[in-house]
């Protein structure tokens, strides 16, 4: 019983972080129709916020508080300078954000060097669930993710801002004609998505290796989650995250983690062939 439960929690733990990373990606894609290849670097910047706080000798919690603001601002700046001019050219946005990811990585290298950074531990110890111990911090991440997902859904489906976002997604020009400021909606949606992934990077920072390259690994996984989950549905991200995280945790039980990760990517490609619309999608395009 115990190993099964631990694997379940591990799967949940991977799934939550994948969901957190992919959520912003899904919002940006659903709304602007563009894919942000610098998304992984936003995650990395979030982790560096905590690492910087640790290096300065202040509480890592300050880093976690600063991450969404710092990364959100970076995201808004990127939206204004390189994404806005490329609205009607989605393939070129892909390339431009790829260039941006190179720039962010190199700027971080210039400032911090190529080596690894440390993030101070936030919550230590383990909590007993059903009679066995599990690291408290991982449980904390699961809870925080659940809260953020709930908040995102509230924002998206219950707030005025969410209504504006959904209007822009449904019909950009009509929304504009009805008085929605589409440009500021784009800007804020992008900023919020960036802040979200920056926060994800920050709370993950004590558990991962922090270096300028770390974003790449999460980027491709987040995309697979969005694609297998079903593009254009916010809840597709959750389905994709749970499927991906569960598969990875289950396979890691039997195989080396690297092999498990390779297998999951290959399974995802086969899945795309079988269900091009994703797990939740009815039909695409």
């Amino acid at each position: 019983m115990e190993p099964v439960l631990i694997q379940l929690l591990n799967g949940l733990s991977i799934a939550t972080i994948l969901i957190l990373v992919s959520l912003g990606l899904a919002v940006i894609f659903g709304m602007l129709g563009i894919i942000n290849l610098a998304h992984g670097e936003f995650f990395m910047l979030g982790a560096y916020c905590v690492a910087t706080a640790t290096a300065w000798g202040v509480s890592p919690w300050w880093g976690i508080a600063a991450a969404p603001i710092v990364v959100g601002l970076v995201g808004m700046a990127a939206q204004q300078t390189i994404i806005k001019p490329l609205y009607r050219r989605p393939l070129d946005t892909l390339l431009a954000t790829w260039g941006l990811s190179i720039v962010i990585r190199q700027v971080v290298r210039l400032i911090y060097g190529s080596g690894q950074m440390m993030a101070g531990s936030l919550i230590t110890g383990s909590t007993h669930i059903f009679g066995f111990g599990y690291p408290t911090y991982r449980l904390f991440i699961i809870l925080v993710t659940a809260a953020i997902v709930a908040l995102t859904f509230l924002l998206y489906f219950r707030s005025d801002f969410g209504l504006r976002i959904r209007m822009v997604i449904a019909n950009r020009s009509m929304a504009g004609a009805l008085g929605v400021n589409t440009q500021s909606t784009d800007l804020w949606a992008f900023g919020i998505a960036a802040a979200m992934v920056g926060f994800a990077g920050a709370i993950m920072s004590p558990l991962v290796v922090i270096n300028p390259e770390m974003g790449l690994e999460y980027l491709s996984r987040a995309f697979i989650v969005v694609i297998i989950g079903g593009i254009g549905h916010l809840y597709g991200v959750i389905a994709g995250g749970v499927a991906f995280g569960g598969a990875e945790a289950a396979l890691s039980f039997y195989l080396r983690p690297v092999v498990a990760q390779i297998l999951v990517v290959l399974i995802a490609v086969v899945l795309i062939r079988v269900r091009p619309q994703g797990l939740t999608g009815g039909s695409r395009g």
């Binding site: 894919i35 980027l219 690297v258 995802a268």
Partner: protein
């Protein structure tokens, strides 16, 4: 889609033919006037040019952005190295070369089948291929006994060209590897030109411009995409094969950085122009060799910034600029082009 329409290359005017002949002559006599180091360097850049050309075939001409193009470059190099090791007899080099082209082609066929028939297109194709690059990189590292893992593949017999058993020359010889790169470049460029001007090439162009309309006209879109993708990846494999005598076979060949570099070369040179791939690869690599020793980090930062600027303001790249209307009008006035 991109707001830039890619015009077919003009029917070769006199100026174009003169320039082409001069460049070819220069390439042929280069080893006589340059040091072995410079010959090796230019050979390597030409091999990268073939690699970039193969990306341009699918990106520039069919509109499919492959973020995992390095997979096929690396697959060619690794297949070549592994076969050289496994087949230690005279003439094995040719078999290894064949394997180095066929293996990436087969890989592309399988990968393309799942993606194109799964209707993964546009930005999603880029994203999935990016994820596959990461997986391919891990596969190389995990299978250490076959690929040498992180250390790279070495210890394979010297590749030899010529007539097996009678007259053999070492492929490691600077001039030999240089001339194979030149022959490969000219051959691949001629083949690509022929391909894009053929009826099949026109069908590819139709798909790039409007996929739905092409399908409506009766073209089997996934099949055509799969064919051009396989051809392009076989060519990337060939560039990997030609790279073996002049470089190291290491997991870096398959990394995301390598895939990104080749995108930059094509974008800078001018996508959809074929020759732009060589110009971009030569220019970027030459500047990198000049500057990178001193400023690796800063150099990559500049590459990233430059890439953004090219995408934003200058989608035609260097060749696009050279073919710009005002420049053409200026040349026409002086009777230099038709």
């Amino acid at each position: 889609m991109a707001s830039v329409t890619i015009r077919p290359a003009p029917a070769r005017p006199l100026a174009g033919r003169l320039v082409a002949s001069a460049v070819l002559l220069f390439l042929l006599v280069f080893p006589a006037i340059a040091s072995d180091y410079e010959v090796g360097l230019l050979g390597k850049f030409l091999v990268f040019g073939i690699f970039a050309l193969s990306l341009d075939l699918i990106w520039g001409f069919s509109g499919v952005v492959n973020f995992g193009h390095a997979i096929f470059f690396g697959a060619g190099a690794y297949a070549m190295g592994i076969l050289l090791k496994a087949l230690p007899f005279a003439g094995a080099t040719y078999l290894a070369m064949l394997g180095g082209v066929l293996f990436p082609a087969l890989l592309a066929l399988v990968m393309g089948y799942f993606l194109f028939y799964g209707r993964v297109s546009g930005v999603f194709f880029g994203v999935v291929t990016l994820a596959l690059t990461g997986a391919a990189h891990s596969i190389i590292i995990v299978n250490g006994s076959l690929t040498g893992g992180m250390n790279g593949l070495y210890g394979y017999p010297e590749p030899k060209l010529g007539i097996p058993g009678l007259w053999e020359i070492s492929w490691y010889d600077a001039n030999v590897s240089y001339y194979t790169a030149v022959i490969g470049s000219v051959g691949c460029l001629a083949f690509s030109r022929w391909l894009v001007k053929s009826d099949f090439g026109r069908a590819i162009g139709a798909i790039r411009e409007n996929e739905d309309r092409a399908a409506f006209l009766g073209y089997d879109v996934p099949q055509i995409k799969l064919i051009i993708f396989t051809i392009a990846c076989a060519m990337a494999g060939l560039s990997g094969v030609l790279y073996v005598p002049i470089g190291f076979i290491s997991p870096d060949l398959i990394g995301i950085a390598m895939s990104a570099s080749v995108l930059v070369w094509v974008a800078v040179g001018g996508r959809g122009t074929l020759i732009g791939a060589f110009i971009g690869a030569l220019l970027v690599n030459y500047l990198q060799t000049l500057l990178s020793d001193a400023f690796v980090v800063l150099w990559l930062l500049l590459v990233g910034l430059f890439f953004i600027l090219v995408v934003l303001f200058w989608p035609g790249g260097i060749v696009g600029l050279a073919r710009h209307e005002s420049l053409r009008a200026w040349l026409r006035k002086r009777g230099l082009v038709a």
